[in-house]
């Protein structure tokens, strides 16, 4: 086929055709690159750390990520018991971690290890990711505080901070050894600051660093937890983090898909098979009219109505709007059902099948392609819904993805890389799925256009 076409081109009008082909390839690829740019930009921004994101001019690719190990030595120091030693190590740990993160924010230190040693044995180890430390500073234990030694160690804050970060301690030694063979780029820079401003009890033996770019990927884990820090008043958000919003979206969209698939098919079945043509047309127009009513113009009375019913700030308010059949889907279904040979139904009806049997045993098993099409259409059409969910939800645990992203992005303290991270997390599954099911997706979209 292709060769044939080429030969044809070679014979006549080759020039114009070839010019068009070249233009088509270049422009299409250009568009493709332009379209991919925001996506690539989002992914790369999400992987930048808290200082890289504010670099001007912005770079396309994230810079390298550093992992820094501090070794503190407690040999020769007197402690009454193990508790006191642990307490001292926790204090030092907090000082080193938060001090370094605060003072050297622009050095892309993504990970900090702190080892406490005594007489050649490692007794203490703690490891924190930059995002974790930053979140504690922005929303957590050290919210709205200056990062100074007295404040870091005030009350039991340092204990809570260490518990949140996680650590290992055993007075008889743990089986972790400070990594060997690290570079010492930061030694001269950081050591004086730690010794002067965040003086630790243990002696600072070494500060080693190495490049570990995978750490940028680990940031995503902390982005997902971020909502728990921003909205500590909501129990469910604290427990599940960003997944709460994912779950809400899944519930809403899933419900919409199921409701539309069932409701529309029932209506279309009745219209297509049981009503006269005129009555069917009237009912179809009735449903189509309902769908065409613009949301903006019924938003206000709808809100008043739902509020009166008590469907406000709960799942009922989010799910109820999907409980009527969308006219267009009924129309698509009807077009499909009309093509099922009538003899199937007649034969079954002669054998005494009722409407329900005809619908569930004969009509539906034949309509698998249209069911997947309607489900996809519902997903594409409602996955972007924002305003209604935004109007009727106040509690964070009811937010859908769109509402949550909007609210988090309006939260002044949120860093852009975290936002981008959440955005990427939101769209990645959809993009993967749409690549996987691209054939069905294309068919479904093309079918939705053939409505004249």
């Amino acid at each position: 086929m292709k060769r044939k076409k080429n030969r044809k081109n070679r014979i006549r009008c080759g020039k114009s055709e070839r010019f068009l082909k070249i233009a088509a390839v270049t422009v299409s690829l250009l568009f493709a690159a332009l379209m991919l740019y925001p996506l690539v930009f989002a992914v790369s921004s999400a992987m930048k750390d808290n200082s890289q994101i504010y670099k001007v001019p912005p770079k396309l690719l994230p810079g390298k990520a550093n992992s820094v190990s501090f070794v503190l030595d407690y040999t020769g120091q007197e402690f009454q018991d193990a508790e006191e030693m642990k307490d001292q190590m926790l204090k030092d740990n907090v000082l080193v971690m938060f001090g370094t993160n605060f003072k050297f924010a622009d050095q892309s230190i993504m990970e900090i290890h702190v080892y406490g040693t005594r007489e050649g044995r490692t007794l203490f180890h703690s490891r924190a990711h930059q995002m974790k430390l930053q979140m504690e500073c922005d929303y957590g234990i050290y919210k709205r505080t200056a990062i100074k030694k007295e404040i870091l160690l005030h009350d039991d804050r340092y204990v809570r901070a260490c518990e949140s970060i996680g650590y290992e301690f055993d007075e008889n030694g743990i089986d972790k050894v400070p990594e060997e063979g690290l570079a010492d780029e930061f030694q001269d820079q950081i050591a004086p600051v730690i010794q002067e401003k965040y003086t630790t009890a243990g002696t600072l033996v070494s500060i080693g660093n190495r490049t570990k770019n995978l750490l940028s990927l680990e940031s995503f884990k902390y982005y997902l937890d971020m909502p728990a820090y921003i909205y500590p008043q909501s129990e469910r958000v604290v427990k599940y983090g960003f997944l709460t919003f994912v779950m809400n979206s899944v519930i809403v969209i899933g419900f919409a898909m199921i409701a539309q698939v069932i409701l529309c098919s029932v209506c279309a079945f009745v219209i297509s098979r049981q009503l006269s043509q005129r009555a069917g047309k009237f009912v179809l127009m009735f449903f189509l009219g309902g769908m065409m009513i613009p949301f903006a113009s019924i938003m206000l009375p709808q809100l008043i109505m739902y509020r009166e019913m008590g469907a406000y700030n709960n799942y009922a308010a989010l799910l109820l709007p999907f409980l009527y059949p969308y006219g267009f889907y009924v129309y698509l279904y009807k077009g499909f059902f009309d093509q099922i040979p009538g003899s199937y139904f007649e034969a079954a009806a002669l054998d005494g099948a009722g409407s329900w049997y005809l619908y569930s045993r004969i009509c539906m098993p034949l309509s698998k392609p249209i069911i997947s099409l309607i489900a996809l259409q519902t997903f594409i059409g409602n996955w972007n819904d924002f305003f209604w969910a935004w109007l009727v939800t106040e509690d964070q645990n009811l937010w859908t993805l769109n509402v949550a992203l909007y609210n988090i992005s309006n939260n002044a303290g949120t860093k852009q890389n975290a936002l981008m991270g959440l955005a990427v997390v939101t769209i990645t599954p959809v993009i993967l799925l749409s690549i996987l099911f691209s054939r069905q997706l294309k068919q479904s979209i093309a079918a939705s256009g053939v409505k004249g």
Binding site: K8, C13, S16, L20, A23, A24, V25, V27, S28, L29, F31, L34, M35, P38, L39, F41, A42, S45, V56, I271, R278, V283, G289, G290, I293, P294, F295, A296, S297, I298, M299, L300, P301, L303, I304, M305, L323, Y324, I380, W383, N384, F387, N402, L405, S409, Q416, L419, M420, L422, A423, T426, V430, S434, S438, L441, K442, I445, A446, G449, G452
Partner: protein, 306 residues
């Protein structure tokens, strides 16, 4: 045929309750009753409710409050802000038509010329269309950021003055519409399937007559899909008239009301001013405008069918 139908109908009316014909006639309506009732309840009733509320100085605590007739409408029509929001809506529409409407068409026409790349490029084109507005807002607000954004870097690269983009009343509409340039993937597919639906006979005979390349696009393809283009045009107008999410999420209708569309005007009327009557009045006017446009669309679709 019609005579047959009418006799059938007469029979159904005379059928006794409980008889087979009666059951056959009534069952479908029984099944349809619930979905239709829900549609009336969730969709049609709010329209009348909007009209009803718009006649009152609505009091949310003791509804419906004082009856004022058409005063809400008259007051609203005297508001400068109301007409500005219409003006904004139309500027949005104009921008949408200039920037976003033709691009999917061009993309589809060019994609049609490709053979090997077509499949993977169409997939690629759908992706931005599936990105929800909230995510787009996050990405593009950062691109438009006056200090750290890419947009200003590009402007600076070409020697221009850095702009404040979303905070500039003159530029904000452009900034909100521009991301849509890349997000027209679904329309591309519609056009593409329309182009591929043009009968091969026409294409082949055109090729035999020496009509290839750009000539083919101009004289063969475009006239054949003109109906599709027209429908898309009306769809574009209808959706832009209802524009609500994007301006709200990008700039909350600001700065100084420069991105306040009709939808945001309605929202502000009841959210900020607590004036339910005015909000409903604006709703009704918007509904009428969109209804006229929709009827226009249906009229043309019908005439095309015939």
């Amino acid at each position: 045929m019609s005579a047959k139908m009418s006799t059938k109908k007469k029979k159904s009316f005379t059928a006794k309750p409980g008889s087979y014909t009666f059951r056959k006639k009534v069952t479908p309506w029984c099944i349809l009753f619930l979905p239709m009732a829900f549609t009336v309840w969730l969709k049609y009733y709010p329209i009348f409710s909007a009209f009803y509320i718009s006649l009152f100085k609505y009091d949310p605590i003791n509804p419906p409050g004082r009856f004022v007739g058409l005063k809400n409408y008259l007051e609203m029509f005297q508001m400068q802000f109301y007409w500005e929001s219409w003006k904004n809506t139309f500027i949005f529409l104009l921008l949408q038509l200039c920037m976003c409407f033709f691009i999917p068409l061009i993309q589809a026409l060019l994609l049609n010329e490709l053979i090997r790349l077509q499949k993977c490029l169409t997939t690629l084109y759908i992706l931005p269309a599936l990105i929800p507005t909230s995510v787009n807002v996050i990405i593009w607000r950062w691109i438009w950021h006056p200090d750290y954004g890419v947009a200003n870097q590009i402007v600076k690269f070409f020697g221009g003055e850095p702009q404040v983009w979303l905070s500039d009343p003159d530029l904000v509409k452009f900034c909100i519409i521009f991301p849509g340039v890349l997000g027209g993937g679904l329309t591309v597919l519609l056009y593409l399937s329309a182009i591929q639906g043009v009968s091969t006979d026409i294409m082949e005979s055109a090729a035999l007559d020496g009509c290839t390349g750009f000539k083919k696009i101009r004289h063969i393809i475009l006239p054949n899909i003109s109906f599709m283009i027209f429908i898309q045009l009306i769809m574009c107008v209808i959706t832009t008239m209802q524009l609500l999410d994007a301006p709200y999420m990008y700039a909350s209708g600001g700065p100084s009301g420069a991105s306040t569309t009709q939808g945001i005007f309605i929202y502000n009327a009841f959210n900020d001013d607590l004036n339910y009557g005015r909000g409903s009045a604006a709703s009704v006017v918007l509904l009428i405008v969109i209804a006229v446009l929709t009827m226009l669309q249906m009229h043309f679709e019908k005439s095309e069918k015939n």
